[in-house]
């Protein structure tokens, strides 16, 4: 791994053109060398904290991809700013295919709505190697609460709801729903899924929108009740819970995870990596992992994935604008 990543804004600006030039040189003259890619271990950078959903799915798929790739995949965590810190480092490094990274939809589609970063990474900086999962957000209430359905909750005079943080799908989905329903709702941002769910378990708040992985154990234990899912279709894990769309609110928000390399990586290396991960997705262990962690498969080609991500970014921006929301300034 590059021992001296971007040190700050100035250093970053100075480094990136150089990196791009270096990358072009590699690409131009190294076709022959790439023919037997990979000849050494590949670094798999996870730009999130160890132990979270993004980390777990990366480790599961990396383990399954080592055999088809014929080299080991070393997973390392480089968290910060919803993945921006790690992905910026990926772009600053060599575009030789020996460093790959996990990326998430929310960084490209939701974070820009909340955080104003003039040099934010955009999806066109990357080449998508493989798409992995989609995870629905679900709106849950406490099992002891009087709210049995979404309509009950929306009929309440005022609602305090926890979110898993500013600029997350949790915040976006709940805000769009409550604003659309025109009720008096206050968001209470927490630092991640676990504290938000804890606050609901202690009935400090009335509701929380969080991912299935964060809420399913408590739903299955009968501590929490799901009243709506924010996916297009019902979740296979919660078949009896209606979608927000079914209930008349056009809110579809989910998290999707995929693997990227810098856009300059050559076709051959990218092709080898893609094939390895396609094979890894078929492994029974990976399938079992998804099942255990309440994740749905999202397996499309890179063109379709890019279209989905840019469409989602435009759609969320339009929804937020129509609703008069400003994620960054609270509500």
């Amino acid at each position: 791994m590059n021992p001296f990543p971007r040190r700050g804004l100035l250093a970053g600006l100075a480094v990136s053109p150089l990196a791009a030039v270096a990358a072009c040189q590699v690409q131009g003259g190294a076709d022959a060398a790439e023919a037997d890619f990979p000849t050494r271990a590949v670094d798999f950078m996870v730009p999130f904290d160890p132990g979270g959903s993004g980390d777990l799915v990366s480790r599961a798929v990396a383990e399954a991809a080592e055999e088809p790739l014929g080299q080991s995949l070393a997973v390392s965590n480089k968290p910060g700013a919803n993945g921006a810190v790690g992905l910026k480092e990926l772009l600053a490094g060599d575009a030789d295919g020996y460093t790959i990274a996990l990326a998430v939809k929310s960084l490209f589609a939701i974070t820009p709505l909340a955080v104003d970063d003039p040099d934010a990474v955009v999806i066109d900086d990357f080449r998508i190697i493989a798409t992995l999962t989609q995870e629905a957000y679900v709106l849950v209430v406490h099992a002891d609460s009087p709210y049995q359905t979404l309509d009950d909750l929306l009929a309440a005079g005022s609602v305090d709801y926890a979110t898993t943080g500013v600029g997350t799908g949790s915040q976006l989905s709940a805000q769009l729903l409550f604003t659309g329903a025109g009720i008096d709702a206050t968001d209470v941002p927490f630092d991640g899924g676990a504290p938000a769910v804890t606050a609901l378990l202690g009935q400090q708040v009335d509701a929380v929108s969080a991912s299935l992985a964060e809420t399913m154990p408590q739903i299955e234990a009968g501590e929490l009740r799901a009243v709506a899912v924010f996916s297009e279709e019902r979740s296979p894990f919660l078949n009896e819970v209606p979608t927000a769309v079914e209930s008349g609110y056009d809110v579809v928000v989910d998290q999707r995870r995929f693997i990227v390399v810098p856009a300059e990586v050559g076709d051959e290396a990218a092709g080898v990596l893609s094939l390895a991960f396609e094979e890894a997705r078929e492994s029974p262990e990976y399938g079992q992992f998804l099942q255990d962690n309440y994740m749905d498969r999202w397996e499309v080609d890179s063109l379709e994935a890019k279209t989905h991500l840019s469409d989602a970014a435009a759609e969320y921006a339009a929804l937020v604008e129509d609703a008069g929301l400003d994620l960054g300034e609270g509500s």
């Binding site: 990543p5 700050g8 804004l9 160890p50 132990g51 968001d187 202690g202 960054g328």
Partner: protein, 503 residues
């Protein structure tokens, strides 16, 4: 509680394979605890891939061993080098290092090891019998309760240190300021990030502690290279004497209970417990002025408290599926990778895992005690190493440790910058302890207060209307206002002839 599942948990814990992984876990934990800057969360993350091929119980026994083993190891660097690796061992560094300077490093470490063992073991016993009943207590703590708890903590920070109260307050205020670096917790607005997203998530505790305590202390000592080194005692003196035990006995018992109770609270529980224990010991001591200058109770109490808290912080993870701190979050991930979901169902669905892990902690604590007592003599000899050799070595290990938190070289620069700040503070007589603890409690206070105000719709009086936060407010008023005022009145009454002892 089903007694047979507890007993079969012992059978699981005593399986040879599990004993072996327990030993590996606590040894690795103790080692990384000794290396400044390397934390259990990063170590567990690095070791995650190894656990794939292990049986779930063995994997978690090993990872848990790393966690509480690191608590034992962290004490050694706190005492010998004044480098606390965890927020919960910051207070140990105060009197522990003062003892080491007096040539009593051996007794300090001996008392700390025994206090840790008793704290840890008492906590497992309590966990076994009342964990299910207590699980709900963690949920009674919402943003309002955390607000008042953090406020109590910040007032207790004022009792630390032996210097001027105003300098402690100034250092604490600076700590609170540094805690605001990063994205605003409610609005997401970047604060003091200077346009770089390296600072977007704020500054990690380890970086602040390693900078202010570690690098700052090393720089300060470089200035005094000519000063004679404190005498290193022979191994015989490394064993705590009768007086040490007499003074520590009650402190250990009080610390164990404090640690167990506060450790259940996810987020800040362990730090609060060591702070509360220190404050209590200082208050009940006959001569509080010894504190900060090498009072052995100031090591015994907080050490038993933070080990008890380390154990009881498993309660929310294992019974509710709530990770209490960064290390627990990685352990949560390890269990998920094994196809086991920590949560309300764990105790009934996987009793072998639950009780196997819990009971392995008895073994782990015993192993740690057995490991640490003979090693004290070895570690104390570390003080004999010339500062010209020890200092650069410590800095290199610190840098490696800091890098390992986020695999980020920017953090290494940050440690150096904070080290210079720590050096300046030291020169001017400001203590790093209040700074670091206020830094930890500051983010808890700010985020919890603002969350409470959103929930309360801006009505501050709700803090006293809720039963738990109301009681905590009463404790706060009692300790921060009434007791000091009463004491002042009494000193004034005790006559003008008798000069009151400066505190």
């Amino acid at each position: 509680m089903d007694l047979s599942s507890v007993l079969s948990g012992f059978a699981v814990a005593f399986e040879p394979q599990n004993l072996l992984f327990c030993l590996i876990g606590v040894t690795v934990g103790m080692l990384i605890g000794v290396l400044p800057g390397l934390g259990p969360a990063a170590t567990i993350a690095i070791l995650l891939p190894i656990t794939y091929s292990l049986e779930p119980t063995a994997a978690v026994i090993m990872l848990a061993g790393i966690f509480y083993g690191a608590q034992y190891g962290g004490t050694i660097t706190s005492v010998l080098l004044r480098m606390p690796g965890e927020a919960s061992s910051v207070v140990t560094a105060l009197d522990g290092h003062a003892l080491a300077r007096k040539g009593e490093a051996g007794p300090a470490l001996g008392v700390a090891a025994v206090a840790s063992f008793i704290g840890g073991t008492a906590s497992i016993l309590l966990l076994t019998f009342i964990a299910p009943a207590l699980a709900g207590a963690a949920l009674a703590f919402g943003p309002a309760e955390y607000t008042v708890l953090a406020l109590i903590g910040i007032f207790l920070v004022g009792t630390l240190g032996s210097g001027s109260l105003w300098k402690s307050a100034a250092a604490a205020a600076l700590g609170l300021l540094i805690a605001t670096v990063g994205l605003d917790p409610i609005l997401g607005t970047p604060r003091f990030t200077f346009g770089t997203d390296q600072l977007a998530d704020g500054i990690d505790f380890t970086i602040v502690a390693m900078g202010l305590f570690g690098v700052g202390e090393i720089l300060y000592n470089l200035e005094h290279r000519d000063r004679p080194q404190p005498a290193v005692p022979a191994f015989g003196r490394a064993i705590p004497g009768r007086l040490h035990w007499l003074r520590s006995r009650a402190a250990i018992l009080r610390g164990s209970v404090t640690g167990f109770v506060l450790g259940i609270l996810p987020g800040g529980g362990a730090t609060m417990s060591s702070l509360v224990s220190y404050a209590v010991e200082k208050r009940v001591a006959k001569d509080p002025s010894r504190f900060g200058k090498g009072a052995v109770e100031g090591v015994a109490g907080p050490e038993s408290a933070n080990n008890a808290a380390a154990t009881s912080s498993f309660i929310p993870l294992l019974t509710l599926g709530i990770p209490a701190n960064a290390t627990m979050a990685v352990l949560f991930g390890a269990l998920m990778l094994q196809g086991i979901t920590p949560g309300p169902g764990l105790m009934t669905e996987h009793p072998d895992v639950f009780w196997g892990v819990v009971n392995s902690m008895y073994v782990g604590n015993l192993l740690l005690l057995a490991l640490s007592i003979p090693l004290i003599g070895v570690f104390v000899r570390m003080l004999k190493v010339r500062p010209g050799v020890l200092a650069p070595l410590t800095v290199v290990i610190t840098m490696l440790g800091v890098y390992s938190i986020r695999n980020n070289a920017f953090d290494m620069l940050l440690v150096i910058a904070l080290g210079l700040l720590g050096y300046g503070m030291r020169k001017l007589g400001f203590e790093p302890g209040p700074f670091v603890l206020a830094f930890v409690l500051g983010s808890l206070l700010e985020a919890s207060f603002r969350r409470s105000m959103r929930i309360f719709g801006g009505d501050v009086t709700e803090f006293v209307q809720r039963p738990v936060s109301g009681s905590l407010v009463a404790v706060l008023v009692l300790t921060a206002v009434i007791v000091p005022v009463l004491r002042k009145v009494r000193t004034r009454q005790s006559g003008a002839a008798e000069q009151p002892a400066a505190q």
